[in-house]
Symmetry: C3
Subunit: 267 residues, 3 copies
Amino acid sequence: MPRLIALLTDFGHHDIYVGVVKSVILSRLPKAVLIDLTHSVPPGDIPGAAFQLRAAAPYLPEDALFLAVVDPGVGGKRRPICARSGGRLLVGPDNGLLRPAASALGEPEFFHLDKPQFWLPRLSSTFHGRDLFAPVAAALAGGTPPEEVGAPITDPVTLVFPSPLIASGGARSARGEVIWIDHYGNAVTNFQPEYLAGALEDASAVTFTVGGVDLGPPRTHYGASASGEALVVLGSFGYYEIAVRDGSAAERLSLARGTPVWVRGAP
Amino acid sequence: MPRLIALLTDFGHHDIYVGVVKSVILSRLPKAVLIDLTHSVPPGDIPGAAFQLRAAAPYLPEDALFLAVVDPGVGGKRRPICARSGGRLLVGPDNGLLRPAASALGEPEFFHLDKPQFWLPRLSSTFHGRDLFAPVAAALAGGTPPEEVGAPITDPVTLVFPSPLIASGGARSARGEVIWIDHYGNAVTNFQPEYLAGALEDASAVTFTVGGVDLGPPRTHYGASASGEALVVLGSFGYYEIAVRDGSAAERLSLARGTPVWVRGAP
Amino acid sequence: MPRLIALLTDFGHHDIYVGVVKSVILSRLPKAVLIDLTHSVPPGDIPGAAFQLRAAAPYLPEDALFLAVVDPGVGGKRRPICARSGGRLLVGPDNGLLRPAASALGEPEFFHLDKPQFWLPRLSSTFHGRDLFAPVAAALAGGTPPEEVGAPITDPVTLVFPSPLIASGGARSARGEVIWIDHYGNAVTNFQPEYLAGALEDASAVTFTVGGVDLGPPRTHYGASASGEALVVLGSFGYYEIAVRDGSAAERLSLARGTPVWVRGAP
């Protein structure tokens, strides 16, 4: 049985782009099993895509192949690469997109996809998802080892997510930010419980503030507040998130990626 | 061959939520076959989701499993449940969502999904679609009977769709409402031909009115009117719907869910 | 193994329409493999759908079946048809939608789907995608030959894409137009390199103009311009397209389908 192929792109659903990538894969590997992680990454948003990819990665089978294409540099000098980490394979452009997921899954090795015999015969300069990444992914999912489709490299592009900062005045508070707004308008912050436990002088009773609004301590679940009320919960990927019960926190509190969020420890 | 798994949620396409649910299922049941009914139910819209689920249910194979998650009460006291009805299985939160489809398919039995050994090892309080419903669905689709994943219950939450009313003045007219607006802007009413035949004194020549606009009798198909003209047709799920040829009835006539619709029988 | 079934519709993602079509297919052909080309064709946009279908067609396996439904005439006199061309099958309404793809794949034969025994028992007048095309596609994908599901016809509806015009004053310039706006806001024109080589007196150094803006000669790839700058590149389906690096050409230059585009040859 071939490796499961999980797709994540910024191709959207308006065009045939995702369908054509799947067509190329299935033409070469008819027994391929494909799932969509998302294709609604904002166009060219490499950090957003990298965050989503890393969040999804642990839930896939242990031999999954990730085909991730957010590729504003297509046709230029950026390299096409494959990473192997913790048994999984990740295929995409060398622009940082694959790095956080690859590092979360294990100790990654990287390969430059430099063997044209695995690509479509004609390589466009605008759609390597179809012409290069899809056929290489089909080969890899079908059992070809990374060593055959590319040469090892040790200098892939790195990408680092914004870390929370310890505020001046010591470890009584910390400044983080919103790193993702989801479909419901929930605002995912870059605060994790483990971080706060390590960084704050006393993390036994944290409270959150955003845009001057005191959100109080984290609640147990969305329903632990009144309808329409803002609250903080520990989100499903391990980060605290700001939500509004039966509503959109992003709209209600004017939150966007990069909006600063403050946490104070116990006084 | 495992049961076909049909997904219906309000997760949208912006995030990896649907993809992660599928990942969990395929990690546990690699031969699972999954289809999407829709993931664009408005956030938290339980009646809308229940209507869609019931409409789709008869078209799935006779041993299908429905995984339906619209779950504003996640993490609180609402129970996770499974229903078995007419050979199919339905999995989701106990908030009324599964009930209309389960009742339409047969005589439903219900089970409280209270066996943590079938869940992911760590249960979040915000994403039971991933942590509880997906792994239980994988077990059930793979052949585990409902009795093993939960205890029988007899008091699931009910949900009743708004029924048309017979207007005062007898059975010469009836008042219903719009219960769904589709992608094309067609407005599905809660009038069915069988209802009108039973309720009106003379249903041989009904005419429809909405917002003061006389729509006349039902037409045979969309093309039976001029371009841009409003009309009523018998929609594909058995309800009369208001449409505008080559346009959106919802926009043109300012229709929304709950908009009252009147039917008059033959004079 | 059944033929791969590739779906292209204007059904959108808001409703269960696509899911129900797949349900009908899988009920009748449980081993069917389905992929989505797109379901976001603008409602009723037959030329747009035909363009997308033709663009995708060459990337599918050589025995693929295309199920394409953009069907404003559903329930009326338009015929349901199947085309066989170059080993592939195409199923949909006889309104021109299938024609360009069928002609691109080979020498098409056409069949009128006039055998009700292959349809669902009850045919609605509003959703032939579910009631007629899906079950016929399942039969064809499973091995039933087109001759059994319909009678041969020789007069399918034609559809011709807008061709570029040679401007008055001879072959020093040509007038084309925008034929598709994609998810990124790239504007696909109807100019192909082969056309320009044949039509212009000297195509060795063409330059493009749209809305009075000089776009210069085609560049090698999106990144060959400064961020925010408009440019022309040879797009992935063989047409020149107008793009803005890190932005939307459609928004920036107010482009839409039908917007005129000019090409001048070498002076």
